[in-house]
Symmetry: C2
Subunit: 259 residues, 2 copies
């Protein structure tokens, strides 16, 4: 081996080492109550609220909504809706359209014919709260089964640390958000450093869910039980169908828009 | 059917219904930072810190230690040890015996010939903290793979709500504590109301761990990586071996003793 080729060999090894150690990190936060344990500075945070906030946001934007404004309270939702032309107010409490609002929290309520060109002012509890808690991220995007593949493709291209943030249910771990996080970890792990037990646990959950039969897997979950008591089985089945709405929603200022 | 036998039939149905709805609850708390979300009043709380506090406590008590006093700080450990005849002080920081203490945090360090009749004053971080956080439980017991079967038998007999409390790692979800919680849920679920996604998730994790090959499953975990850097592989393998030390440790006052 000539000195030159040997040098090239060493550079190759060095480059390979650099590539390996420079992988960005991929972590999962299982509850907003644990968010303070993670460093979100400069990272991309994916907000996950499968049943149903992030599914509804994804569907509405893919169906042509101009933007979605996430707000915490019903009163804010009413006030913002009243001040914005061409807007819809939406949100539920206990499975029913909240008093004073026009529409519900179902992705099925927002077909193109209805939502195109409009601004959806949406109040949810868990998802909106987590979204407002993240302060210093480089970017906040929205994840749901409805945009699984296109979201993963987007994240792979960014070369940034990623935190998958589960909205959970009143701070308690939930299966559906974690299952989705596991689906993302499964797809991205080759390109990221995954030294996070929550990410490993989510991936195990995804692996033992039997692949794509998510709804069967989730029938024994707290949220499925709660929402099926309101007759929302069809909604939930829709929410766990992969890739129906290939769009990546991103927070810009106080609005979520399609990238 | 006579009126009398019909009445008996109804009573039987009623009794069956009562039995079903009166099952105590079984829940899993994945991190001390989530403990406030659970109602521990009157419940049995099982403290789980597989690597390695609760494994060491179980081993020491089964090997004849009179009691274990769990303390939060090294200085408390030294002070209490100095005031107690026939006591041992123990605790590690970063995989080494902490300065000023006599022994480490390995279950293998406490064979009968060494620990019998003595009081072990033990300082740990995550496990001790969770133990001290639980205020109003009917009972606090100690769980580890080393006492899995006898613990489950004990819990089945008590007819109380149960919270399995994972000590986690600096409040972050960990695989080994959750895996153990899943093993307990798997064994107890028939006798309890399990409407808790963390319990379901833990059970799924246990089910996909391949049964008893816990150490293989855990080799890809944050704690295994961290502790194997200190050469503690044998310790960890010991800690995940089921039923080596069939004893149920319980907190009484400030001491943990064998029931």
């Amino acid at each position: 081996m000539s000195p030159r080729s040997n040098g090239g060999f060493l550079i190759t090894i060095f480059a390979a080492t650099m590539t390996r150690t420079e992988k960005p990190s991929l972590e999962v936060c299982l509850s907003p109550a644990l968010l303070h344990l993670y460093d979100t500075k400069g990272a991309i945070v994916v907000i996950i609220d499968i049943f149903r906030a992030t599914s509804t946001i994804t569907a509405a934007l893919h169906n042509g909504a101009e933007s979605v404004i996430p707000v915490a309270s019903v009163s804010d939702c009413i006030a913002i809706g009243a001040s914005l032309p061409n807007s819809l107010t939406a949100g539920e409490r206990d499975g029913k359209v909240a008093e004073g609002l026009q529409h519900g929290n179902s992705p099925l309520e927002y077909p193109t014919s209805f939502v195109s060109g409009k601004t959806l002012v949406l109040t949810t509890t868990n998802g909106t709260r987590l979204l407002h808690m993240v302060q210093d991220a480089a970017e906040i995007v929205i994840g749901s089964f409805l945009n699984l593949s296109v979201l993963c493709e987007y994240l792979l291209k960014q070369d940034k640390n990623i935190l998958l943030g589960c909205a959970s249910w009143k701070d308690k771990f939930n299966l559906e958000d974690t299952l989705f996080a596991g689906a993302v970890v499964h797809r991205l792990q080759h390109a990221f450093e995954v030294n996070c037990d929550a990410a490993r646990g989510a991936r195990h959950l995804y692996n033992c869910s039997g692949g794509d039969h998510f709804i069967e897997f989730l029938k024994d979950s707290s949220h499925y039980r709660r929402l099926s008591a309101f007759g929302l089985e069809r909604d939930m089945e829709y929410c766990v169908t992969a890739d129906l709405h290939p769009v990546v929603p991103r927070l810009q200022g106080d609005r979520i828009v399609a990238i």
